[in-house]
Symmetry: C2
Subunit: 206 residues, 2 copies
Protein backbone atom coordinates (compact mmCIF):
# COMPACT_ATOMS: atom_id res chain seq x y z
CA UNK A 1 0.00 0.00 0.00
CA UNK A 2 1.40 3.34 -1.08
CA UNK A 3 0.06 6.76 -0.09
CA UNK A 4 1.08 9.97 -1.83
CA UNK A 5 -0.05 13.22 -0.24
CA UNK A 6 -0.10 16.55 -2.05
CA UNK A 7 -0.20 19.75 -0.06
CA UNK A 8 -0.35 22.95 -2.05
CA UNK A 9 -0.63 26.69 -2.15
CA UNK A 10 -3.90 27.86 -3.63
CA UNK A 11 -3.49 28.33 -7.37
CA UNK A 12 -0.17 26.47 -7.65
CA UNK A 13 -1.52 23.52 -9.65
CA UNK A 14 -1.10 21.00 -6.84
CA UNK A 15 -4.52 19.51 -7.39
CA UNK A 16 -3.84 18.96 -11.09
CA UNK A 17 -0.53 17.28 -10.26
CA UNK A 18 -2.34 15.03 -7.78
CA UNK A 19 -5.07 14.07 -10.23
CA UNK A 20 -2.67 13.36 -13.08
CA UNK A 21 -0.35 11.45 -10.77
CA UNK A 22 -3.20 9.18 -9.70
CA UNK A 23 -4.11 8.61 -13.36
CA UNK A 24 -0.53 7.79 -14.37
CA UNK A 25 0.06 5.47 -11.42
CA UNK A 26 -3.40 3.91 -11.37
CA UNK A 27 -3.91 5.03 -7.76
CA UNK A 28 -7.24 6.03 -6.24
CA UNK A 29 -7.65 9.77 -5.94
CA UNK A 30 -9.20 11.72 -3.07
CA UNK A 31 -9.83 15.40 -2.94
CA UNK A 32 -13.36 16.79 -2.79
CA UNK A 33 -14.52 13.19 -2.34
CA UNK A 34 -13.46 13.64 1.28
CA UNK A 35 -15.77 16.62 1.67
CA UNK A 36 -18.65 14.62 0.17
CA UNK A 37 -18.07 11.82 2.66
CA UNK A 38 -17.94 14.22 5.61
CA UNK A 39 -21.17 15.87 4.45
CA UNK A 40 -22.89 12.52 4.01
CA UNK A 41 -21.76 11.18 7.40
CA UNK A 42 -22.88 14.35 9.14
CA UNK A 43 -26.12 14.71 7.20
CA UNK A 44 -25.06 18.15 6.02
CA UNK A 45 -25.05 20.03 2.77
CA UNK A 46 -21.82 19.53 0.79
CA UNK A 47 -21.49 23.25 0.05
CA UNK A 48 -21.83 24.06 3.72
CA UNK A 49 -19.10 21.58 4.68
CA UNK A 50 -16.88 22.85 1.91
CA UNK A 51 -17.26 26.48 2.95
CA UNK A 52 -16.49 25.53 6.50
CA UNK A 53 -13.64 23.17 5.94
CA UNK A 54 -12.01 23.23 2.64
CA UNK A 55 -10.83 26.66 1.83
CA UNK A 56 -12.77 29.18 3.79
CA UNK A 57 -12.82 30.05 7.44
CA UNK A 58 -16.00 30.42 9.41
CA UNK A 59 -15.92 34.15 8.67
CA UNK A 60 -16.99 33.33 5.14
CA UNK A 61 -19.99 31.20 5.96
CA UNK A 62 -22.93 32.96 4.30
CA UNK A 63 -25.27 34.96 6.47
CA UNK A 64 -28.11 32.54 5.75
CA UNK A 65 -26.19 29.68 7.41
CA UNK A 66 -25.12 31.91 10.29
CA UNK A 67 -28.75 32.84 10.88
CA UNK A 68 -29.80 29.21 11.01
CA UNK A 69 -27.15 28.24 13.50
CA UNK A 70 -27.22 31.24 15.71
CA UNK A 71 -23.80 32.15 17.02
CA UNK A 72 -20.18 32.36 15.98
CA UNK A 73 -19.17 30.15 18.87
CA UNK A 74 -21.47 27.46 17.56
CA UNK A 75 -20.03 27.73 14.08
CA UNK A 76 -16.50 27.43 15.50
CA UNK A 77 -17.38 24.36 17.47
CA UNK A 78 -19.19 22.88 14.49
CA UNK A 79 -16.06 23.44 12.39
CA UNK A 80 -14.07 21.39 14.86
CA UNK A 81 -16.66 18.61 14.65
CA UNK A 82 -16.27 18.67 10.89
CA UNK A 83 -12.49 18.49 11.15
CA UNK A 84 -12.79 15.48 13.43
CA UNK A 85 -15.12 13.79 10.96
CA UNK A 86 -12.71 14.66 8.13
CA UNK A 87 -9.90 13.03 10.07
CA UNK A 88 -12.05 9.88 10.47
CA UNK A 89 -12.78 9.81 6.74
CA UNK A 90 -9.08 10.10 5.88
CA UNK A 91 -8.18 7.31 8.30
CA UNK A 92 -10.92 5.17 6.78
CA UNK A 93 -9.50 5.76 3.30
CA UNK A 94 -6.08 4.59 4.46
CA UNK A 95 -7.62 1.59 6.22
CA UNK A 96 -8.88 0.35 2.84
CA UNK A 97 -5.25 -0.50 2.13
CA UNK A 98 -5.26 0.66 -1.48
CA UNK A 99 -2.73 2.84 -3.27
CA UNK A 100 -3.97 6.43 -3.08
CA UNK A 101 -3.18 10.04 -3.85
CA UNK A 102 -4.75 12.41 -1.32
CA UNK A 103 -4.79 16.14 -1.95
CA UNK A 104 -4.73 18.49 1.02
CA UNK A 105 -6.37 18.08 4.41
CA UNK A 106 -3.15 17.31 6.29
CA UNK A 107 -3.20 13.68 5.20
CA UNK A 108 0.62 13.71 5.33
CA UNK A 109 0.53 14.14 9.10
CA UNK A 110 -2.70 12.27 9.84
CA UNK A 111 -1.40 9.20 8.00
CA UNK A 112 2.21 9.51 9.17
CA UNK A 113 2.30 5.91 10.39
CA UNK A 114 1.74 4.68 6.82
CA UNK A 115 4.99 6.35 5.71
CA UNK A 116 3.43 8.32 2.83
CA UNK A 117 5.40 10.19 0.18
CA UNK A 118 4.68 13.86 0.82
CA UNK A 119 4.83 16.55 -1.83
CA UNK A 120 4.28 20.26 -1.37
CA UNK A 121 3.43 22.30 -4.46
CA UNK A 122 4.04 26.04 -4.60
CA UNK A 123 4.59 28.86 -7.08
CA UNK A 124 5.24 32.59 -7.11
CA UNK A 125 2.26 34.94 -6.95
CA UNK A 126 2.34 35.81 -10.66
CA UNK A 127 2.17 32.17 -11.74
CA UNK A 128 -0.69 31.48 -9.35
CA UNK A 129 -2.63 34.55 -10.49
CA UNK A 130 -2.30 33.47 -14.10
CA UNK A 131 -3.53 30.00 -13.24
CA UNK A 132 -6.51 31.32 -11.26
CA UNK A 133 -7.45 33.58 -14.19
CA UNK A 134 -7.30 30.70 -16.66
CA UNK A 135 -9.50 28.56 -14.46
CA UNK A 136 -11.94 31.23 -13.30
CA UNK A 137 -15.60 30.32 -13.51
CA UNK A 138 -17.53 32.29 -16.09
CA UNK A 139 -18.66 35.61 -14.70
CA UNK A 140 -15.97 35.73 -12.02
CA UNK A 141 -14.82 39.31 -11.73
CA UNK A 142 -12.00 39.52 -9.22
CA UNK A 143 -9.34 42.19 -9.56
CA UNK A 144 -5.72 41.03 -9.17
CA UNK A 145 -5.68 42.59 -5.72
CA UNK A 146 -8.81 40.69 -4.68
CA UNK A 147 -7.45 37.43 -6.06
CA UNK A 148 -4.15 37.86 -4.23
CA UNK A 149 -6.06 38.56 -1.02
CA UNK A 150 -8.16 35.44 -1.60
CA UNK A 151 -5.08 33.27 -2.23
CA UNK A 152 -3.40 34.55 0.91
CA UNK A 153 -6.53 34.05 2.97
CA UNK A 154 -7.02 30.48 1.83
CA UNK A 155 -3.39 29.57 2.46
CA UNK A 156 -3.55 31.19 5.88
CA UNK A 157 -6.64 29.15 6.73
CA UNK A 158 -4.85 26.00 5.62
CA UNK A 159 -1.90 26.88 7.84
CA UNK A 160 -4.20 27.53 10.82
CA UNK A 161 -6.09 24.27 10.34
CA UNK A 162 -2.81 22.41 10.12
CA UNK A 163 -1.50 23.99 13.29
CA UNK A 164 -4.77 23.14 15.05
CA UNK A 165 -4.85 19.52 13.94
CA UNK A 166 -1.25 18.51 13.80
CA UNK A 167 0.82 21.05 15.71
CA UNK A 168 3.15 21.31 12.71
CA UNK A 169 3.90 24.08 10.25
CA UNK A 170 2.30 24.28 6.83
CA UNK A 171 4.64 24.47 3.85
CA UNK A 172 7.74 24.12 6.03
CA UNK A 173 10.33 22.53 3.84
CA UNK A 174 11.44 19.71 6.08
CA UNK A 175 7.85 18.49 6.55
CA UNK A 176 7.73 17.20 2.95
CA UNK A 177 9.95 14.94 0.91
CA UNK A 178 9.76 17.20 -2.08
CA UNK A 179 8.73 20.80 -2.55
CA UNK A 180 7.94 21.64 -6.16
CA UNK A 181 7.74 25.10 -7.62
CA UNK A 182 5.48 24.99 -10.68
CA UNK A 183 6.59 28.40 -12.02
CA UNK A 184 7.94 28.01 -15.54
CA UNK A 185 6.74 24.41 -15.89
CA UNK A 186 3.92 22.87 -17.80
CA UNK A 187 2.15 20.96 -15.03
CA UNK A 188 1.83 17.89 -17.25
CA UNK A 189 5.58 17.63 -17.73
CA UNK A 190 6.18 17.41 -13.98
CA UNK A 191 3.96 14.39 -13.41
CA UNK A 192 6.18 11.54 -14.66
CA UNK A 193 9.10 12.77 -12.62
CA UNK A 194 7.07 13.05 -9.41
CA UNK A 195 5.77 9.55 -10.13
CA UNK A 196 9.33 8.30 -10.50
CA UNK A 197 10.40 10.09 -7.35
CA UNK A 198 7.64 8.51 -5.31
CA UNK A 199 8.45 5.11 -6.76
CA UNK A 200 12.06 5.50 -5.65
CA UNK A 201 10.85 6.41 -2.18
CA UNK A 202 8.51 3.42 -1.83
CA UNK A 203 11.09 1.00 -3.18
CA UNK A 204 13.56 2.29 -0.60
CA UNK A 205 11.06 1.56 2.18
CA UNK A 206 10.14 -1.97 1.13
Amino acid sequence: MRIITISREFGSGGREIGKRLADVLGFDYYDSEIISAVAKNKGLDKEYVELNLSNHGWQNVPISFRGTIGSTAYIQSSKIQLLIEQKRVIEAIAALGKDVVIVGRNADVLLREYNPFNVFVCADTETKLKRCRERAKEGEVYTDKQLIRKMKYIDKTRAKTRALMTGTGWGERDAYHLTLNTAGWEIKSLVPIVAYFSDLWFRGKE
Copy 2:
Protein backbone atom coordinates in the same frame (compact mmCIF):
# COMPACT_ATOMS: atom_id res chain seq x y z
CA MET B 1 25.40 26.54 -21.16
CA ARG B 2 23.60 25.12 -18.16
CA ILE B 3 23.98 26.26 -14.57
CA ILE B 4 22.72 24.28 -11.60
CA THR B 5 22.82 25.96 -8.21
CA ILE B 6 22.56 24.12 -4.93
CA SER B 7 21.60 26.00 -1.79
CA ARG B 8 21.50 23.99 1.39
CA GLU B 9 21.05 23.84 5.11
CA PHE B 10 24.24 23.02 6.95
CA GLY B 11 24.50 19.25 7.37
CA SER B 12 21.75 18.37 4.88
CA GLY B 13 24.03 16.76 2.30
CA GLY B 14 23.59 19.50 -0.30
CA ARG B 15 27.27 19.68 -1.05
CA GLU B 16 27.47 15.93 -1.67
CA ILE B 17 24.48 16.14 -4.01
CA GLY B 18 26.17 18.99 -5.88
CA LYS B 19 29.47 17.17 -6.22
CA ARG B 20 27.88 13.92 -7.37
CA LEU B 21 25.58 15.77 -9.74
CA ALA B 22 28.56 17.46 -11.39
CA ASP B 23 30.27 14.05 -11.72
CA VAL B 24 27.22 12.37 -13.24
CA LEU B 25 26.52 15.21 -15.66
CA GLY B 26 30.13 15.99 -16.49
CA PHE B 27 29.68 19.60 -15.33
CA ASP B 28 32.36 21.73 -13.70
CA TYR B 29 31.95 22.01 -9.95
CA TYR B 30 32.46 25.07 -7.78
CA ASP B 31 32.28 25.22 -4.06
CA SER B 32 35.35 26.03 -1.97
CA GLU B 33 37.10 26.81 -5.28
CA ILE B 34 35.27 30.12 -5.10
CA ILE B 35 36.81 30.88 -1.71
CA SER B 36 40.25 30.04 -3.06
CA ALA B 37 39.77 32.45 -5.95
CA VAL B 38 38.57 35.24 -3.67
CA ALA B 39 41.56 34.70 -1.40
CA LYS B 40 43.97 34.72 -4.32
CA ASN B 41 42.46 37.83 -5.89
CA LYS B 42 42.57 39.68 -2.59
CA GLY B 43 45.97 38.41 -1.56
CA LEU B 44 44.52 36.95 1.62
CA ASP B 45 44.78 33.74 3.50
CA LYS B 46 42.19 31.15 2.38
CA GLU B 47 41.27 30.25 5.96
CA TYR B 48 40.70 33.88 6.78
CA VAL B 49 38.40 34.34 3.78
CA GLU B 50 36.54 31.16 4.63
CA LEU B 51 36.01 32.17 8.23
CA ASN B 52 34.71 35.51 7.11
CA LEU B 53 32.58 34.45 4.21
CA SER B 54 31.68 30.90 4.03
CA ASN B 55 30.07 29.76 7.17
CA HIS B 56 31.02 32.04 9.97
CA GLY B 57 30.12 35.58 10.81
CA TRP B 58 32.70 38.16 11.79
CA GLN B 59 31.98 37.33 15.43
CA ASN B 60 33.90 34.10 14.92
CA VAL B 61 37.04 35.53 13.42
CA PRO B 62 39.82 34.47 15.77
CA ILE B 63 41.20 37.08 18.12
CA SER B 64 44.55 36.97 16.35
CA PHE B 65 42.98 38.22 13.13
CA ARG B 66 40.97 40.81 15.01
CA GLY B 67 44.10 42.03 16.64
CA THR B 68 45.86 42.42 13.32
CA ILE B 69 43.07 44.40 11.80
CA GLY B 70 42.10 46.48 14.72
CA SER B 71 38.37 47.06 14.94
CA THR B 72 35.06 45.30 14.45
CA ALA B 73 33.92 48.00 12.06
CA TYR B 74 36.91 47.27 9.87
CA ILE B 75 36.15 43.56 9.86
CA GLN B 76 32.55 44.25 8.85
CA SER B 77 33.63 46.45 6.00
CA SER B 78 36.24 43.93 4.94
CA LYS B 79 33.56 41.25 4.88
CA ILE B 80 31.58 43.32 2.44
CA GLN B 81 34.66 43.72 0.26
CA LEU B 82 35.03 39.94 0.29
CA LEU B 83 31.38 39.45 -0.67
CA ILE B 84 31.81 41.82 -3.59
CA GLU B 85 34.89 39.93 -4.72
CA GLN B 86 32.98 36.65 -4.34
CA LYS B 87 30.23 38.04 -6.55
CA ARG B 88 32.82 38.94 -9.17
CA VAL B 89 34.30 35.45 -9.04
CA ILE B 90 30.88 33.85 -9.52
CA GLU B 91 30.09 36.12 -12.45
CA ALA B 92 33.45 35.25 -13.97
CA ILE B 93 32.67 31.52 -13.64
CA ALA B 94 29.40 32.02 -15.50
CA ALA B 95 31.12 34.13 -18.14
CA LEU B 96 33.26 31.11 -19.05
CA GLY B 97 30.10 29.72 -20.63
CA LYS B 98 30.61 26.15 -19.42
CA ASP B 99 28.09 23.82 -17.77
CA VAL B 100 28.51 24.15 -14.02
CA VAL B 101 27.19 23.13 -10.65
CA ILE B 102 27.70 25.87 -8.04
CA VAL B 103 27.11 25.15 -4.37
CA GLY B 104 25.97 27.99 -2.14
CA ARG B 105 26.95 31.65 -2.25
CA ASN B 106 23.64 32.87 -3.68
CA ALA B 107 24.64 31.89 -7.19
CA ASP B 108 20.95 31.27 -7.95
CA VAL B 109 20.20 34.97 -7.55
CA LEU B 110 23.52 36.39 -8.73
CA LEU B 111 23.26 34.40 -11.99
CA ARG B 112 19.51 34.81 -12.42
CA GLU B 113 19.88 36.11 -15.98
CA TYR B 114 21.41 32.75 -17.03
CA ASN B 115 18.20 30.96 -16.04
CA PRO B 116 19.85 28.39 -13.75
CA PHE B 117 18.12 25.35 -12.29
CA ASN B 118 17.94 26.03 -8.57
CA VAL B 119 17.79 23.34 -5.93
CA PHE B 120 17.48 23.80 -2.19
CA VAL B 121 18.50 20.87 0.02
CA CYS B 122 17.19 20.53 3.57
CA ALA B 123 16.60 17.91 6.26
CA ASP B 124 15.23 17.67 9.76
CA THR B 125 17.57 18.34 12.67
CA GLU B 126 18.05 14.69 13.55
CA THR B 127 19.17 13.75 10.04
CA LYS B 128 21.59 16.68 9.93
CA LEU B 129 23.04 15.86 13.33
CA LYS B 130 23.66 12.30 12.24
CA ARG B 131 25.37 13.48 9.09
CA CYS B 132 27.56 15.96 10.97
CA ARG B 133 28.60 13.23 13.40
CA GLU B 134 29.54 10.86 10.58
CA ARG B 135 31.63 13.52 8.89
CA ALA B 136 33.20 15.06 11.97
CA LYS B 137 36.92 15.63 11.81
CA GLU B 138 38.90 13.46 14.16
CA GLY B 139 39.03 14.92 17.63
CA GLU B 140 35.89 17.03 17.17
CA VAL B 141 34.01 16.95 20.45
CA TYR B 142 30.76 18.84 20.08
CA THR B 143 27.74 17.90 22.15
CA ASP B 144 24.43 17.59 20.29
CA LYS B 145 23.38 20.91 21.73
CA GLN B 146 26.54 22.61 20.52
CA LEU B 147 26.19 21.07 17.07
CA ILE B 148 22.58 22.21 16.79
CA ARG B 149 23.61 25.70 17.82
CA LYS B 150 26.36 25.64 15.20
CA MET B 151 23.98 24.47 12.46
CA LYS B 152 21.48 27.16 13.32
CA TYR B 153 24.14 29.82 13.45
CA ILE B 154 25.58 28.90 10.07
CA ASP B 155 22.15 28.82 8.43
CA LYS B 156 21.29 32.16 10.00
CA THR B 157 24.50 33.65 8.63
CA ARG B 158 23.65 32.32 5.19
CA ALA B 159 20.19 33.86 5.42
CA LYS B 160 21.67 37.20 6.48
CA THR B 161 24.23 37.22 3.69
CA ARG B 162 21.52 36.41 1.19
CA ALA B 163 19.30 39.22 2.43
CA LEU B 164 22.25 41.60 2.24
CA MET B 165 23.30 40.64 -1.27
CA THR B 166 20.05 39.81 -2.99
CA GLY B 167 17.19 41.19 -0.97
CA THR B 168 15.51 37.79 -1.15
CA GLY B 169 14.72 35.15 1.45
CA TRP B 170 16.89 32.11 2.03
CA GLY B 171 15.21 28.73 1.80
CA GLU B 172 11.87 30.25 0.77
CA ARG B 173 10.16 27.61 -1.27
CA ASP B 174 9.22 29.68 -4.29
CA ALA B 175 12.80 30.90 -4.76
CA TYR B 176 13.92 27.43 -5.95
CA HIS B 177 12.66 25.04 -8.58
CA LEU B 178 13.00 22.11 -6.28
CA THR B 179 13.34 21.74 -2.54
CA LEU B 180 14.66 18.36 -1.51
CA ASN B 181 14.45 16.87 1.94
CA THR B 182 17.25 14.32 2.33
CA ALA B 183 15.77 12.69 5.46
CA GLY B 184 15.26 8.98 4.85
CA TRP B 185 17.19 8.98 1.58
CA GLU B 186 20.59 7.72 0.67
CA ILE B 187 22.12 10.85 -0.88
CA LYS B 188 23.50 8.81 -3.78
CA SER B 189 20.05 7.60 -4.80
CA LEU B 190 18.77 11.16 -5.19
CA VAL B 191 21.40 12.23 -7.70
CA PRO B 192 20.10 10.64 -10.94
CA ILE B 193 16.64 12.01 -10.35
CA VAL B 194 17.87 15.55 -9.71
CA ALA B 195 19.97 15.22 -12.86
CA TYR B 196 16.90 14.17 -14.80
CA PHE B 197 14.86 16.99 -13.30
CA SER B 198 17.42 19.60 -14.32
CA ASP B 199 17.63 18.11 -17.79
CA LEU B 200 13.86 18.44 -18.16
CA TRP B 201 14.15 22.07 -17.08
CA PHE B 202 16.92 22.96 -19.52
CA ARG B 203 15.22 21.20 -22.40
CA GLY B 204 12.05 23.18 -21.68
CA LYS B 205 14.03 26.42 -21.92
CA GLU B 206 15.81 25.69 -25.18
